[in-house]
């Protein structure tokens, strides 16, 4: 009556998987870009280009987790949390003269704290995520400005800290090899193999059913927001090592880019559905596209529109191929 004999997943499901689509898109874009610019396919270039994905990738990962957690979950405050964490790290490293490495650790914890403010209001008090994180978007962004009085902070170029953002190992930028890749690897593994991942999907698809199978829904959701905050702070650490400057507007507008990458990656906006590996692929698409267009000397403002076309076109094509409800 059941089981065994049939394939684990129907073939159509595999083709309709957003990830297959994105992988094809990466290859196609790569081919197109190498035609547009002779510099695109240089190996050193290919690897160097990944550095631009590191920071936004961390934010996209955080917001993806929060969206997966369901109940209208979203984190609009990621960009501002990045700005504020970056400034705090600057204050620690420049004004207090703390070792940048130590400051980085403290900063990540601080980011989790910023996330916990969202988490508390959303998971414990049950306030709507969109409005809570919208408030903290303003709040954190403004606090970053207040703390610096509008200026910038430095003090990161010590104790080899700059290597985190400046050096490359076997041609791979350090921030990708040491921060982004491990973060995604752990997240993808956790999503697919661990109880955490399973529960993430359970609270994402049905909050109330999840409560009844014994998941502490509000605790888990609280943690997701903490995680998102910590990832934003990690993004700030990378930014500081990379640019050696902490600016209060460093994360401005990144929240929307991060959400764009998450949804392009197939994270379903109502929660519970989507793969973090898809988000990684979407990140690659965005990085390849913008770097390629940059090399082809397509203006920055025009790149924005092309990215928008790719976002809509990808979703459209995906729906067309799979004839399935909303992507």
């Amino acid at each position: 009556m059941t089981t065994g004999a049939l394939p684990r997943r129907p073939l159509r499901d595999r083709v309709s998987d957003r990830r297959v689509f994105l992988a094809v898109l990466v290859v196609a874009l790569g081919a197109l870009m190498s035609l547009l610019s002779p510099y695109f396919l240089e190996v050193g270039n290919l690897l160097a280009m990944t550095q631009y994905g590191a920071v936004i990738g961390l934010l996209a990962l955080g917001v993806s987790l929060v969206i997966l957690g369901g109940r209208g979950g979203i984190d609009l405050s990621g960009g501002s949390a990045l700005s504020l964490s970056g400034i705090v790290m600057g204050l620690l490293a420049q004004n207090l003269g703390l070792s940048p490495w130590l400051a980085a650790l403290v900063t990540v914890a601080f980011g989790a704290l910023l996330g916990s403010v969202n988490g508390f209001m959303i998971a414990r008090l049950g306030l709507p995520p969109l409005i809570v994180t919208l408030s903290t978007l303003f709040l954190y962004g403004a606090l970053a400005q207040v703390l610096t009085g509008g200026g910038q902070l430095g003090g990161f170029n010590r104790e080899g800290f700059a290597a985190l953002g400046q050096s490359a190992i076997l041609g791979v930028p350090a921030q990708v090899l040491l921060v982004l890749a491990p973060a995604f690897a752990v997240a993808i593994w956790a999503q697919n193999r661990t109880a955490f991942g399973r529960r993430l999907h359970q609270i994402g698809t049905s909050d109330r059913a999840a409560t009844l199978v014994g998941i502490d829904v509000s605790k888990l959701r609280f943690r997701l927001y903490c995680l998102s905050g910590a990832l934003a702070a990690l993004g700030a650490v990378v930014t500081n090592a990379w640019l050696l400057t902490a600016r209060p507007s460093a994360g401005l507008g990144m929240e929307l880019q991060a959400i764009t990458i998450a949804v392009l990656g197939g994270i379903h906006i109502f929660g519970g559905r989507g793969h973090l590996s898809g988000v990684l692929l979407a990140l690659v698409v965005v990085v390849v596209l913008s770097w390629g267009l940059q090399l082809a000397q397509v203006g920055n403002s025009v790149q924005t529109g092309i990215l928008g076309l790719v976002l809509v076109g990808a979703a459209l094509l995906n729906n067309l191929l799979t004839r399935r409800a909303p992507g």
């Binding site: 009556m1 059941t2 129907p10 049905s206 059913a209 009844l212 519970g272």
Partner: protein, 504 residues
């Protein structure tokens, strides 16, 4: 039951077929429904009943086949078109508008309008009140938000909406699965009145004892094919059962008497404002205790309180003679309590996920290795065991749960709880939407589980079922225990009297 003299066919269907990927849900089905006729559609879970009515209602286009409605070809391009053609439906998985009032729910898509084309709220309200009065549903409900109603109240509102639509054909897909006797009888009256007015009625049910009240004729589906079509006069239960399953079925469950064993669950003076007041109740090891009452009697709330979802304001609970003060379901689960919710759509299934993880959801903590890694082989084994044991019709364990028929979804949830081998098992409408043969299976299993040492508390609106499985029954009325019946006192008549508050 008299067959109507008016035999004008109102709906006729022939050669209807539908597949979902590799699953053939319906193959070459044909029948006619006369005006004023009441036709029951029977079949095991997954036989294709819901698929059949969804095609008639324009939800899915048929792969093949023809339909005519009132003499004209019926090829609805959308549910709206079918509705406009005169087909009114209450679906098995209720769909309603949670954040709108009950009144608005009644009139979505057909709001009364005045001459200027404006929505006429006053007339809407008047019609809603009249409708509810006619159906004996409290009028106060009209202003409540739909999601503030209990499941049964929602079901009543949906039925009210369907019968209020002036239709040629009324289709009811398992409308009674959580209604109690009194409500069900009320529904039969409505159905009868409509059929007298010439409406054709298609009725899907798994409750055999209802059949003689609602049907002039039966059709039976088996694996998507028509397995029988006969007038009520020729039908006897065994014959229908055999048509459904293709084999003789033993519809009776066997059970030995419960041995007196220690009390496992005890509540005293338990009170939850607005739902449960001053309830004393005990459940012993090895015993099946039934809980009966009208819609809104507070049974579900009582169960949720024991399971830690609701907080009592007064009274105490004890499990194994230790105080039981759960701060949430986790505490209750730690105390060995399992709970199967009545509302599978919003409290039961994880709709985006596969059948496998739906089954293993509660068991998950025991399937973990280091670092919280799921031992996947073991998990798969557990799931397939239960899929086989309860004969859950899923192509693979990885099949999405929402692709299963309603009854099989329910079985998957049942498996989820049974797999945990709890000390106290609370089941709220456990056989809701499950076909007769499987129902007997499940009832049998439930009694066995009890005899093996679990304390079982069953909330069910299906009185025959409750009487068949229970050693003892509590009857609740307006939040209080109105009677506790056991042994020779436990009769249908006694339960109903207690339910109504009629003195014996």
């Amino acid at each position: 039951m008299t067959t109507r003299s008016d035999v004008r066919p109102i709906l006729s269907v022939s050669g209807l077929s539908k597949s979902f990927g590799a699953t053939t849900a319906l193959a070459d089905v044909g029948f006619t429904l006369a005006a004023g006729e009441r036709l029951a559609v029977l079949g095991e879970n997954g036989a294709g009943k819901s698929t059949l009515i969804k095609m008639i209602a324009g939800v899915y286009p048929p792969d093949r086949g023809k339909m005519t409605l009132d003499g004209a070809p019926h090829r609805p391009s959308s549910p709206g078109a079918a509705l406009a053609g005169g087909i009114s439906v209450v679906y098995q998985e209720p769909s309603f508008f949670p954040r709108l009032s009950v009144l608005e729910n009644l009139y979505v898509g057909r709001e009364p309008r005045d001459r200027a084309g404006q929505v006429d709220w006053r007339r809407m309200r008047g019609r809603g009140e009249e409708l509810f009065r006619r159906l004996d549903v409290p009028v106060e409900l009209l202003t409540r938000r739909m999601d503030a109603l209990s499941l049964a109240e929602q079901q009543l509102a949906l039925i009210a909406r369907a019968v209020d639509i002036e239709a040629k054909v009324l289709i009811l897909d398992e409308p009674t699965s959580i209604l109690t006797d009194a409500e069900v009888r009320r529904l039969f009256l409505i159905v009868q009145r409509l059929s007298e007015a010439g409406v054709g009625v298609l009725y899907i049910t798994h409750r055999f004892e209802e059949l003689e009240h609602v049907a002039d004729r039966f059709i039976v589906l088996k694996d998507g094919r028509l397995a029988g079509d006969l007038p009520a006069s020729e039908a006897d239960h065994d014959r229908i059962l055999e048509m459904m399953s293709g084999r003789p079925v033993n519809a009776a469950i066997s059970r030995s008497a419960a041995q007196p064993r220690p009390v496992v669950l005890e509540t005293s003076g338990l009170t939850v404002p607005g739902a449960v007041s001053d309830v004393d109740l005990t459940v012993r090891r090895g015993e099946v205790v039934g809980l009966y009452g009208l819609v809104g009697a507070g049974r579900t709330e009582l169960a949720l309180t024991v399971f830690g979802v609701l907080r009592p304001t007064a009274g105490t609970m004890r499990v194994d003679d230790r105080p039981h003060t759960p701060r949430g379901p986790r505490d209750a689960m730690a105390a060995g309590i399992a709970y199967l919710p009545e509302d599978r759509k919003t409290l039961g299934i994880f709709p985006g996920m596969d059948t496998l993880s739906n089954i293993t959801a509660v068991k998950l903590p025991e399937l973990l290795g280091r670092l919280g890694v799921i031992r996947r082989a073991e998990e798969r084994k557990l799931a397939t065991t239960w899929i086989d044991r309860l004969r859950i019709k899923a192509p693979t364990p990885a099949f999405p749960i929402t692709g299963l028929s309603g009854g099989h979804q329910q079985k998957a949830l049942f498996a989820r709880q049974l797999a945990t081998e709890p000390r106290i098992l609370i089941l709220d409408e456990p056989t809701r939407g499950i076909d007769v043969a499987t129902k007997t299976d499940i009832q049998q299993r439930l009694v066995e589980v009890a005899r093996e040492g679990t304390a079982v508390l069953v909330v069910s609106s299906d009185l025959p079922e409750l009487l068949a499985v229970s050693d003892r029954v509590y009857v609740m009325r307006e939040g209080r225990v109105a009677a506790e019946l056991s042994g020779d006192d436990l009769t249908e008549d006694a339960v109903l009297r207690a339910t109504m508050g009629v003195n014996r």
